[in-house]
Symmetry: C2
Subunit: 107 residues, 2 copies
DNA sequence: TTTTAATATTGCAATATTACGATATCAATG
DNA sequence: CATTGATATCGTAATATTGCAATATTAAAA
């Protein structure tokens, strides 16, 4: 049905999946990589750099913000989007915990 | 359009996003966690454990296999799905490299 | 060789995601 | 206050994903 049966899973499973899902689009990976290379980053740069429409980039930024990976500050007319380094580390740790605790001991 | 413009991105970006995407569903997270707890794992166990239909579980298993995270061996009438530990580590490393190299030096 | 049990595949229906044009908003500037 | 520039939001079209019933496949058991 295209509807994920969220209620069947634990909160941990849903959270993990949500992080993975947000990172699961090449445009969002590219946005993060680009922001990481710049000292200042405004959405308009991204539109030129990534090559998607402004509305589309804005939407992707919104999703990245939704899990706290980005924070944006208003700077005059434009926005300054930055990686939220603390959150970044927290999420990296959570994903690593998942990888480390999920180990095979199968046949 | 619901169509990701894959050709706009680097192979690295597409690969990374693909890994994240496959992990971005709670059922698939749950499947991996369950397999990791069991010594033997057949699809039928999962159907009972996860509570989705057999066809649905089978589909999720297929996606996990598509990025090499799972490998399945025929064992009589049933399948034994195992985590591919080598691949698992490789992917974990790739994701960590992404996290570590993508750092903020913003405003 | 028929039956049975386990898994895969097919074919939908429902919902979600992606992308973008058109607008709205909002702050600085004239 | 009107204009301009940057970003957000809305509406919508196209495509993707999720889930399942029905069916196919396949290997062991009868």
């Amino acid at each position: 049905m295209g509807v994920t049966k969220t209620q069947m899973f634990t909160e941990e499973q849903n959270d993990l999946a949500q992080f993975f899902k947000v990172l699961g689009h090449p445009a969002r990976v590219a946005i993060l990589q680009y922001i990481s290379k710049q000292n200042t980053c405004i959405c308009n740069d991204l539109v030129e750099e990534i090559g998607l429409a402004q509305a589309t980039i804005s939407q992707h930024l919104k999703e990245l913000k939704s899990i706290g990976l980005l924070k944006g500050e208003v700077e005059g007319k434009s926005m300054c989007y930055c990686i939220n380094v603390e959150r970044w580390s927290i999420i990296q740790n959570q994903l690593n915990t998942f990888f480390n605790t999920t180990k095979s001991n199968c046949c």
